[in-house]
């Protein structure tokens, strides 16, 4: 933490910490609402970090999880299932109100004891172990969980638990002293938080304007004003950089990087996104019940070639559902996914594959970078081992369609733990199973228990290895790669995505952005 402060101070001193500077971002996607609790999309995640704070922050410049005080200054377990946190005094929300324990209790309970449907949906997948928050005094809260929680700090750092002002939310609609669903709806159009930038203007789907929040509790925002505009067409985004209408452009595909490299006024920054592009299989489809066929579908794909050709080699091809961000729980030693066309052919013959058509569902219009290109390449790779594949592109989500055979999806890392990536999607009774395309049994559930609630790292790792072994034998999915996402910007901008964030965050806090000296 000290290093961070010194580094920031130095950068600040050199570059002029508070610059009278405006910035415009040409974004491929703009949020339709802004509520950090309700949202877990890749679109929304771009925008919350600048305006909100969690109880516990991280050093986002590091891949490893290093937790630092946020709106809470200290925290300790007072019982195996209760954590007490001391809150930072004198924190001001964007509307001038001072943060107290009431706001924290409100923010947490609205999510973990949700009765508002959009919150209920979010609660289930990662907050289900939380019971409630209670106020001890104005600057002290206690948070209770149902059973011992190995991931306290990770979960209290979540975007879904960013702190909101209670009085403000209540006052928005109807009775100013009561919490109504309308209040939440209204909040998502006029959000207020504690972060270094306040939302000055928000036109859903179109435009977002941030202005510096002068009473921010931490280091002042380096920019006066940031405007984010929705520019869906990639040619237009890049052109906006050239005309000077924008300084940063999001979602630049690898194929566009050559253009940026050739331009002396532009540069690109990218990072390996903490998420996997995956292919999911419907294990309950009558024709795919035989695991050998699904293994063949996986083994036939040369992911390294896809990486070379479509990602200029910048993507990362994982051997298992694991990422370096998981720290101690990173398991590169596992081999769950690999390329072996010979074995694929053998398995197909063994299973008696007669050449029936296997449909590959794709979202259209294009949703994941390079998804259409990868899909077509995969059809060819399948054809090379004798699989008769056919692309079916439509705007509908077919993950819960019993006729679906194979389709594209992504498994983001919602927080830096395998539970926050693999866990959210593939838990017993979770989204995949309840869509009817994936089955778990008692054996898997037992492994799951040890993985989710195991007290030691070794215990959790062993359980995870067990689950990955099952995924290899009877695959419900294949992790293709971690995509390399790029942002283009004018040469004078010093900004790059930070490794400690969830995917796509546009971080403009102090230390995250500066401009080359004029």
């Amino acid at each position: 933490m000290k290093h961070l402060l010194i580094a920031t101070a130095l950068t600040g001193a050199l570059a002029g910490a508070v610059q009278a500077r405006d910035l415009t971002v040409a974004a491929a996607n703009m949020a339709s609402y802004l509520d950090p609790g309700r949202d877990h999309s890749n679109v929304g995640s771009q925008f919350y970090y600048n305006s909100f704070d969690p109880l516990i922050h991280k050093d986002y410049s590091r891949v490893e999880q290093v937790f630092v005080p946020g709106l809470a200054t200290e925290w300790a377990l007072v019982s195996p299932t209760t954590m007490e946190l001391k809150l930072r005094p004198g924190v001001q929300f964007h509307n001038g109100a001072t943060m107290t324990a009431d706001d924290v209790v409100f923010s947490v309970n609205r999510m973990v004891q949700a009765d508002f449907p959009p919150y209920q949906v979010r609660m289930r997948d990662r907050l289900s172990n939380f019971d409630r928050a209670e106020k001890v005094d104005d600057l002290t809260v206690r948070i209770h969980v149902k059973r011992e929680e190995p991931l306290w700090e990770t979960l209290l750092n979540l975007q879904q638990l960013y702190i909101l002002p209670e009085a403000y939310v209540k006052s928005l609609k109807g009775d100013p002293n009561a919490l109504e669903h309308d209040d939440y709806e209204a909040f998502s159009l006029a959000p207020v938080g504690t972060g270094p930038y306040r939302v000055a203007e928000f036109v859903p789907g179109q435009k977002l304007v941030w202005e510096r929040h002068d009473a921010f509790w931490g280091e002042a925002a380096p920019l006066d004003r940031v405007t984010v505009v929705n520019v869906p067409e990639v040619a237009s985004r890049l052109t906006a950089l050239r005309t000077g209408e924008a300084q940063i452009a999001t979602n630049i595909a690898p194929d566009q990087l050559a253009l940026i490299d050739a331009d002396p006024g532009l540069k690109a920054e990218g990072m390996l996104t903490p998420l996997f592009h995956v292919n999911i299989f419907n294990v309950n489809h009558p024709r795919l019940k035989d695991a050998r066929i699904r293994r063949a579908l996986s083994l036939a794909i040369d992911r390294d070639l896809l990486n070379e050709a479509l990602w200029l080699g910048k993507a990362e091809v994982p051997a298992s559902h694991t990422m370096v961000e998981f720290g101690d729980l990173y398991m590169p030693e596992l081999t769950t996914f690999r390329y072996d066309p010979e074995e694929a052919r053998r398995l197909l013959a063994e299973a008696g594959y007669d050449g029936f058509e296997i449909t590959y569902d794709l979202h259209s219009p294009s949703y994941y970078t390079n998804d259409a290109l990868a899909a077509q390449a995969i059809m060819e790779m399948w054809a090379a081992v004798g699989i008769n594949g056919k692309i079916s592109a439509e705007p509908k989500w077919t993950g819960n369609d019993p006729e679906m055979m194979v389709r594209t999806w992504s498994n983001p890392m919602y927080f830096a733990d395998p539970f926050g990536s693999f866990g959210v999607m593939w838990a017993p009774g979770g989204p995949s199973e309840s869509e009817g395309r994936y089955n778990t049994d008692a054996g898997f559930a037992a492994l799951w228990e040890r993985f989710r609630f195991g007290k030691t790292v070794e215990e959790r790792k062993a359980a995870y290895a067990g689950m990955m072994a099952r995924f290899e034998q009877d695959p419900p999915m294949l992790a293709l790669y971690r995509p390399y996402e790029s942002w283009a910007m004018t040469k004078d901008v010093n900004w790059k995505p930070q490794p400690g964030h969830i995917p796509y965050v546009l971080d403009f806090r102090a230390g995250a952005i500066s401009f080359a000296s004029n």
């Binding site: 609402y33 709806e185 040619a235 819960n400 979770g430 309840s434 869509e435």
Partner: protein, 309 residues
């Protein structure tokens, strides 16, 4: 005359009602918004929660009545995605689209009619054909190619024009050019043909037979009756443009218009926005068509009687 107006009004009301009902049915029966949320981790239970939240579990008839009631009390509901009043969302976007439409139609009229006349009158000379060829290019190139091409030329390489949004007059130039391109081509052809028709008519032949030079005759008698047909075609094209929106232009130039809103809410099945938006656009189109038909009916006495066989 009155009976024609009445009949047209009736037809308009009926069409409107049919459209309102069709939009409702088709949107609701072809998939629910819960299907189009890119299934980022929704359990079956969650789907049910969201279905109840959007009030989609109420019987269809119920939902239809609620929708119709919206027309009487002005409450058309909240967008499923943005959770704010539908009327507000659509109103926000209609004005920029209207501005662009007016600009495009003005440019089209100002350019296409004179050029069409030129193409007709000087059809034997090279510039008559050249003018038609240029117009043709504007029509035959797919609009998004023209749009991207203009962006790359005038913004990217020459850096003369801005590419994002609708803030200044300069922002209007390229989007208007793209929208007008196809319109100009179509109207030019039509004007040229209408002009040729006029040239072939008896009174023109008489004038020409008297020995007056063709060009003078045209300038004197103008387009004659062709005016009405030209205007009715403009009306049709205007309606067509309003109806099919300008989703391409809005996407490429980040123009906050209604075309993109309609397509996006159609893809996401945001029923309230889609229903209201389509109905609003349909109303505009129907009105324009009605006016066009009336004008046409005024011009041609035989059409006034209608139905008399």
């Amino acid at each position: 005359m009155l009976s024609l107006a009445l009949r047209t009004l009736l037809r308009m009301a009926l069409t409107f009602f049919v459209i309102v009902t069709l939009v409702f049915l088709v949107t609701r029966l072809t998939g629910s918004p819960v299907d189009f949320v890119l299934g980022e981790g929704l359990t079956a239970e969650d789907r049910q929660i969201l279905i109840r939240y959007y009030a989609l579990d109420r019987p269809l008839w119920d939902q239809y009545l609620a929708f119709l009631r919206g027309f009487t009390d002005g409450e058309f509901g909240l967008s499923f995605i943005e959770r704010r009043p539908v009327a507000q969302i659509v109103a926000e976007r209609i004005w920029p689209s209207l501005q662009l439409l007016i600009a495009a139609v003005s440019v089209t009229l100002a350019v296409a009619i004179p050029l069409g006349i030129v193409a007709a009158v000087w059809r034997d000379r090279w510039f008559g054909s050249a003018v038609m060829a240029l117009a043709f290019l504007g029509y035959a190139i797919p609009d998004f190619i023209l749009a991207v091409f203009l962006v790359l030329t005038f913004s990217y390489w020459l850096n003369w024009l801005p590419v994002m949004g609708n803030a200044t007059a300069l922002h209007f130039l390229m989007p208007t050019a793209v929208l007008s391109a196809a319109l100009i081509a179509a109207l030019m052809r039509f004007t040229r043909n209408a002009m040729l028709d006029v040239l072939g008519q008896d009174y023109m032949r008489t004038a020409l037979a008297k020995g007056l030079p063709e060009r003078r005759v045209i300038l004197r008698h103008g387009l004659g009756n062709a005016w009405i047909t030209i205007l009715s075609v403009v009306g049709l094209k205007l309606a067509g443009l309003a109806a099919s929106g300008s989703v391409v232009v809005e996407t490429v130039f980040s123009w906050p218009g209604i075309g993109e809103l309609l397509v996006r809410s159609a893809i996401q099945r945001d029923y309230p926005v889609l229903q209201f938006g389509v109905v609003a656009v349909a109303l505009a189109v129907i009105v324009i068509n009605m006016l066009t038909d009336l004008a046409y009916g005024l011009a041609d006495p035989r059409m006034r009687q209608g139905g008399a066989r």
